[in-house]
């Protein structure tokens, strides 16, 4: 039986992209205002009791001291309870889980979960690339973000015959979906040939196998399930969630064709929601690289292990496919503003469940949507949230 103690009554985000003209605070206010405006029966912003802020790269210029106290002032709610959540790439999805637990505990009724991330205030070399020399002085040297996932691609190709075309089909699909998403960083279609011909970034991954560095923000408003109808006649409930960790360093992994944290997090979320992978209507999954989505759809149980590549190439995960994946465009096209990513994915699930996704709306047979992130030296932690319209 699904958990269903907490409802999502509003969700909103800002147009993702390289937002050189917007501050961290401006992005936060934009997402919060959009979430407030989305509430069907209206929502008094002053009613928010507590906020959970997800932001991951808190070391960028001007954000060195980002903490829970940054957002309330930016959104006009100075004084409320506010806590920063950092849990690598799943920071946003984990902040959502923590916010849901805060509501379910009865400590707070109306909770804001907001993710905000500035990826482009520092130059490319000083930003995400600088992790090439972070961590252990020798062991992780040269380990830029693609190094965390490309070894899985090499091994997946070796063991299952996955091809670069199969990887590319993920990027092509997600760019198509992004072209239908007004919030997406990239809104252009691409072809498999373009992906194959794009410059090598980290063999076997090429430029169009990789998500962009995106500035962005997203917010959702949570309320107790039994108060949901004060705000909307079409509430979406939190059916379940799961978090799991795995050894963080790559050399500690026992398998390079599975992200074990995803397998465990999914198992916990499915059990909590009382559903099976086959019950899920659509999923927003972590596609920081094309190979990641292929691993995700296998590890989440949507396709058999080793068949993720061919399933993608055959359109099983397209908008009209058996299990539509990343209808928003995913990280590859909508973008990956790390702390905001999970919450933007949840907003997409919310729209799909409410049949508000416009041209990218998929058929919702069971009223179940799944959201997933994985991160932390690549795949050291995973969060899965399951939303439903069923009560």
């Amino acid at each position: 039986m699904a958990w269903n103690r907490v409802a999502v009554v509003g969700a909103g985000l800002i147009k993702m992209g390289e937002l050189f003209d917007q501050s961290f605070e401006m992005m936060a206010a934009g997402a919060f205002n959009a979430a407030v405006a989305s509430v069907d029966k209206g929502f008094d912003p002053k009613a928010v009791e507590a906020a959970f802020v997800a932001t991951q790269r808190g070391t960028l210029w001007g954000q060195e001291g980002i903490s829970g106290n940054t957002v309330p002032t930016a959104i006009g709610l100075a004084g409320i309870a506010c806590t920063r959540i950092e849990n690598a790439c799943p920071s946003g999805s984990d902040a959502f889980r923590v916010g849901a637990m805060a509501v379910a505990s009865g400590v707070h009724d109306l909770v804001l979960v907001i993710g905000v991330e500035k990826m482009r205030d520092k130059s490319t070399e000083e930003g995400l690339l600088s992790r090439a020399a972070s961590g252990h002085p020798i062991l992780t040297r040269g380990e830029t973000a693609p190094v965390l996932f490309a070894p899985f691609a090499t091994r997946h190709m070796h063991e299952f015959g996955t091809t670069r075309e199969m990887l590319a089909s993920v990027a092509v699909k997600n760019h198509h979906n992004g072209s239908l998403d007004p919030y997406a960083h990239f809104q252009n279609e691409i072809t498999i040939e373009q992906v194959l011909a794009s410059p090598a970034v980290c063999t076997p991954l090429h430029l169009l196998d990789c998500c962009p560095q995106t500035d962005g923000a997203a917010a959702v408003l949570l309320a107790p399930a039994d108060r949901a109808h004060e705000f909307t006649d079409r509430p979406v409930y939190v059916a379940g969630f799961g978090v799991a960790t795995d050894h963080p360093y790559l050399h500690e992994k026992t398998s390079f064709v599975t992200l074990q944290a995803t397998v465990e997090a999914a198992k916990r979320a499915y059990a909590m929601a009382g559903v099976e992978p086959a019950d899920i209507d659509m999923a927003e999954v972590h596609d920081c690289f094309t190979i990641t989505e292929i691993l995700d759809i296998e590890d989440l149980g949507f396709v058999e292990k080793g068949k993720g590549g061919i399933a993608s190439l055959n359109g099983e995960t397209a908008l009209t496919g058996r299990i539509p994946v990343n209808t928003s465009g995913g990280l590859l096209a909508e973008g990956h503003p790390i702390g905001a990513t999970g919450i933007a994915q949840l907003a997409e699930c919310w729209w799909q469940l409410r049949n508000e996704a416009g041209d990218r709306q998929v058929e919702m047979r069971n009223g179940l949507a799944l959201q997933h992130n994985v991160g932390g030296r690549g795949s050291g932690v995973s969060v899965v949230n399951i939303l439903t319209t069923n009560r």
Binding site: E125, L129, A132, S134, I138, R141, P146, A150, H251
Partner: protein
Amino acid sequence: MGASVAISAVGSAAPSLRISAAAIGEAWGRSGGRSVSAVCAPDEDALTLAAAAAVDALAHADIDPSSVDGLWWGCCRPPFAEGPSHAVLAAAIGLASHAGGALLSGSPHSGIEALLGAADAVAAGSARTAMVVVSDALVPGLGSGFESRCGAGAAAVLLSADGGSASISARVTRTHPWLDRYRGDGEATTRDLYDARLFREEMFLPPVQEIADHLSALDVRAWSLPDPDGRLGRVVAQHVGAAIVSSADIYGALGDTGAAAAILGAIGAFDVAGPVAIVATGGGRTTGILVTVDTPVPGATTVATMIAADARDATYSDVLRARGQLKPAGEQIPMGVPPESALFARGADEMLQLLAGKCADCSTLNTPPSIHPTCIACGGSKLEPVGLARHGMVHTFVVNQTMPAPFVAPLPIAVIDLDDGARIMLQVVGDGADLAIGDEVDLVLRRYAHERGVPVYGYKSKKRAVERTSTHATRSEKLTPPQDRDGARNLESKAV
């Protein structure tokens, strides 16, 4: 000299790049001649070459590095001008922390000083097994005559009080306070000779010929002679009537290897019984020694293999970049962990020694110890530091093509399953173009970076060119044809 000092094995190493004098000449708009020099890749230097030669000698002696009592290292240009050069090398080759020895530096003569210092320690009884390493990778002034002669290489000699295949049977030294090649405090490059004729007539030939005369009375079979300009070696060889000048092979293949030249030029001749004379000069000192070879010294025959194997022809700009003489404009963003920091102190040493924490309960190897207070497999908390195997197989890999400075792309990185069951992720030497899952790799010491001006060392993996069983045959095919090497030797005995 105690009669009990014996040479038990030798080792050698050369860097991965070669540049022709013609390529250097072309850059300066002049004809460059026909010589070739060995040059370090960006991740090699005098310390990594020294480590490679030492590991080679240990393998030929078939002894464990922990049984070595001291390391004597001769090097004109140790990588830390002030700092732990000797300690880093000793840790990297796995010597015990109580091992003694010395770093001899300051001139090309320091190589022979290291050999004699170690021999004296063994003779005096303060060491039973001594490792002598001589290495150099000098940096010449751009456009100087020395530029096309300046090479790089290393040799190692294991001395033992417990017997061996050869012994040091004579030594003679002359000292004159003369300035020849020179590098001052703060100078990046070695200055060329002030006046070639002055050097030849007053500084070089008188002491070198005097020392060589002393040795030539001892029925010398083969010679290692200094050759600072590509001509003077022949002059001395002719003066003493040398039939075999083994150092000519090294000068011909690798160029002037500085403090390594005298010993590296000799050990190839340790493959046949008979006396080998070694003359080293530099820094105002000239020393000659006689090594009496009783039976072929383990490692001697592989010198020829070493100088012929695994080299890549480099362009002039490759060489300048590798030596740090060609740098992009603008500020370089400091990367990584400061080498003086606590994190570095905790983390770098264990990678230099290639340590793992072995679980007392389930024997799992946890790599490295600093991030594993608890066994990753069974949760046990009793972990004992042990050294890792240095050979394994590629489980998976990537080639990183997008790197911020100071990294150089393409940078292959591999997850490796070592022979002892440990798994580790390390950078791979080379461009990774032919890397594949299942490839056999050896772990080799490399300089990972110059971090805030400090060299940072660690192990990388290096693909084995061919399978172990067929290594010898394939390498033999790559050897310089015998007639060429003999030709080089014969040149030495011709009149000039």
